[in-house]
Amino acid sequence: MMTSLLFRAMDAKAGVFLAILLTVIILVPAANLLLPESHPLHVPTYAVTLMGKYLTYALLALSVDLVWGFCGILSLGHAAFFALGGYAMGMYLMRQIGTRGVYGDPVLPDFMVFLNWQELPWYWYGFDMFWFAALMVLLAPGVLAFVFGWFAFRSRVTGVYLSIITQALTYALLLAFFRNDMGFGGNNGLTDFKDILGFDVQADTTRAGLFAASGIALGLCFLICKIITKSKLGKVLVAVRDAESRTRFLGYRVEHYKLFVWTISAMMAGIAGALYVPQVGIINPGEFAPANSIEVVIWVAVGGRATLVGPVIGAVLVNFAKTWFTAALPDVWLFALGALFVVVTLFLPKGIVGAVGQGWSALAARRKSTSKVKAGSDDPPGSAPAVPVSESGPPKSRMPAPDPQPAE
């Protein structure tokens, strides 16, 4: 069963992508650990960590693409799932500090001692065990997404309304996690981690390991996304995106489908967050900021939605640009990011991968049509109609979308 699913999911593009990812996963840590520092190809540890961070962002972008690109749910709150996964991992890392904290309390993390708490809150139980924390990395975002999605999709909240309430969700969590009495370190969050699974988080080998883990997680989640989108389920998702009510009248329970990908996607975002935290060494409520979630969407848009490879490329490119700009020209970064939002939505609606693919198929079609003089269709293939709303008339399409968004 699994092999047939896998077989169906693989295509040339996916193969190339996975091969490149695998090469990166092997070469980067190798170049860091095996080559001496003087070697021209040596990769410094900070660069490994930085790239590891990019990979977790790529995974987050992938999870957004799954819901937005394929099912038309524009989540402006995915950073919340990312942060929840991060907090679950952070709690494990806090418990690992043990007596090495400033106050040396064997059970309570420093901030609880500081707040004069006498005992560990119940929701911190179990986080000293890695397997439990790992489970929570999946469950915390998963359950939240499930409950939220259950209500939202069943009530048929769609389009921008859904986007806005996902913003409200992450905003509410932001405010909640800022509170000291939530028991998650308040403003400062969780930090000063010492080790993970017994390895020192600062050590080069651990960092290389985390990088590889991020890469592997990205690869696996990519495969899962590929399996989902290539299956009949994936076709239903696209159908929901393009014509939600039509799908319903075919007998599909749209809310179940949405809930399914929404929850899966949230769990992937949680994994991304869990891998992010040990690499950057801190998790604080700032990760819940509504702006973060919107930024993720632009990574997806830049790379190309509904392409799975696109979001990964987009996340890496945009974050590389961010790193470069904030170091070299900090004042220009927000201008550049803002312009990116505008330019991509106006001129590159399919993103980089979409545009390249479109150009490629247009080229192939031209070659085909010159060899076969008789063209089958009167539309030039490859030039998908820009906005299929002309039938319904502009005033309808201008209403704030009771209908789902048109595909393109």
Partner: protein, 248 residues
């Protein structure tokens, strides 16, 4: 005219939107195997009636029964579709970014749950069924085209094909001839008559030539309730119907 022997039974159905009565005490019965044409001027409540039957709109009052026993007012769109009521919209709605083949595959009668579809692998029987449908709606050579690239008439036909793929007991067809050429209209009428041999069909239409070509019992709706019922000749002889249509 009894509930138990009917396929679709509407009794005293009323729907109002902000005081506007879209349906006003509408009663109607469709027998198993019957094909029925529904006509009426704009705002007569034709589309609202479809919405009520398919679960999109809940009636304020009244009963809607399918197969004599199933109360449709308590079901949602998906389960009504599952019960065997298929609907074609006024504006052709097919899945534009899917191929013609995929459109039909999605419509094909099969388990509808997310996990069922996730692990679904297409069977030989399903393939044959899709091939047959492609032949029926004359889209064999368009099977790998994106639905977005089809002409308006082809989209109408594809949607009818999808309707048939669902294998419903009752088909609700909303203005199938809208925007078609005369030749296409005639072909569509033939196709529907063909379909009505083994399905019950309700057709909503404006085009009188089309309704005449169908040659079935006609129900005239006006202001949310039934104005007249009978053969086309019978209803077009009715003074009230003439008044409604010609505004005398």
């Amino acid at each position: 005219m009894t509930r138990s022997t009917s396929l679709l039974y509407l009794d005293g159905v009323s729907v109002s939107f902000d005081g506007f009565k879209a349906l006003n005490d509408l009663s109607m019965t469709i027998d198993p195997g019957e094909m029925r044409a529904i006509i009426g001027p704009n705002g007569a409540g034709k589309t609202t009636m479809m919405d009520v039957i398919t679960g999109k709109t809940r009636p304020d009052t009244g009963e809607v029964y399918f197969n004599g026993a199933i109360d449709l007012t308590g079901e949602d769109e998906a389960s009504i579709a599952d019960l065997g009521i298929g609907r074609k919209f006024q504006k052709p709605t097919v899945f534009e970014s899917h191929t013609v083949w995929d459109n039909l595959e999605l419509a094909l009668k099969a388990p509808r749950g997310p996990f069922a579809t996730l692990f679904h692998a297409i069977t030989g029987a399903e393939k044959t069924r899709i091939e047959n449908l492609l032949n029926l709606v004359r889209l064999q050579d368009k099977r790998d085209e994106l639905a977005a690239h089809l002409s308006h008439g082809q989209k109408q036909w594809l949607e009818i094909g999808m309707l048939l793929a669902q294998d419903p007991k009752l088909l609700l067809v909303d203005e199938p001839a809208a925007g078609m050429t005369d030749a296409e209209t005639a072909e569509t009428a033939e196709l529907l008559k063909d379909i009505s041999k083994d399905h019950s069909v309700v057709v909503v239409e404006h085009d009188m030539t089309f309704v005449r070509a169908l040659d079935v019992k006609v129900t005239v709706l006006h202001e949310g309730s039934v104005l007249a019922e009978g053969s086309l000749d019978h209803v077009s002889g009715d003074d009230r119907v003439v008044e409604v249509y010609l505004g005398r």
